[in-house]
Assembly symmetry: C2
Homo-oligomer: 135 residues x 2
């Protein structure tokens, strides 16, 4: 698997954990050694693993959290780090996101996520993939 494909696989696993409300997998996907942060849409920045994982626990355990799908993900590799730029479809609204990864124990792990509103129309994105980690 190429490095970019491995990063896109980790990114797809993140959205699959998000979609399926799988907190244990979400926890595994975030770095343990590198410093993590997270900016949910409209929120202030959360910093540190504890604060970031608490936010995911709240989001994934909230029955009112909407469905999410990831579209048009593109990976960029820069040495030992990589980032993905992609779109998130939530209640037919389009958000644009950055997901930042580093390798730990041979696995690409998230160290930062930011998502925010985007003026791109839904029909400008590729078709929704089937759910699953290879989406």
């Amino acid at each position: 698997m190429s490095t970019r494909a491995a990063v896109l696989f980790a990114n797809a696993a993140f959205y699959e954990a998000f979609r399926s409300r799988d907190l244990a997998t979400m926890d595994q996907l975030w770095a343990r050694e590198a410093p993590v942060a997270c900016i949910h849409p409209g929120w202030r920045a959360l910093t540190g693993r504890e604060e970031v994982m608490e936010s995911w626990e709240g989001i994934l355990n909230n029955p009112d959290s909407p469905e999410i799908t990831c579209r048009n993900a593109e990976a960029f590799v820069a040495g030992e780090a990589a980032y993905v730029v992609c779109y998130e479809v939530v209640r037919r609204s389009v958000l644009v996101a950055t997901n930042l990864f580093v390798t730990e124990e041979g696995q690409w792990r998230l160290i930062h996520h930011q998502a925010g509103p985007c003026d791109l129309p839904l029909d400008a994105l590729d078709e929704a993939p089937e759910p699953g980690p290879m989406q």
Copy 2:
């Protein structure tokens, strides 16, 4: 200078170039070898150096572009990459931003920027610094 201080210095230089409409410095601050991308508030993601720098040219040359100041910048170093999470004050509105850096030729250079709206009130941020690269 510590690594984090060097990253914050590069981040301050980015906002000083932004504030002072200095396109030549802005160009120098973006990576030449690593793949770059940029997500301006509300925009779709721009990818590739040409597209990203064209956007900065448009923004910095636009007399209607508002003043911007950076507040509460915090740097996170992960191996050869680093990212800054900070707030941007634009027309008394607060945006939250991620700036991603790698080293090239001994200099921390931007490879990605995302900014989007944030619900933090202006008075929750630190006081505005004096303009200058050490802001």
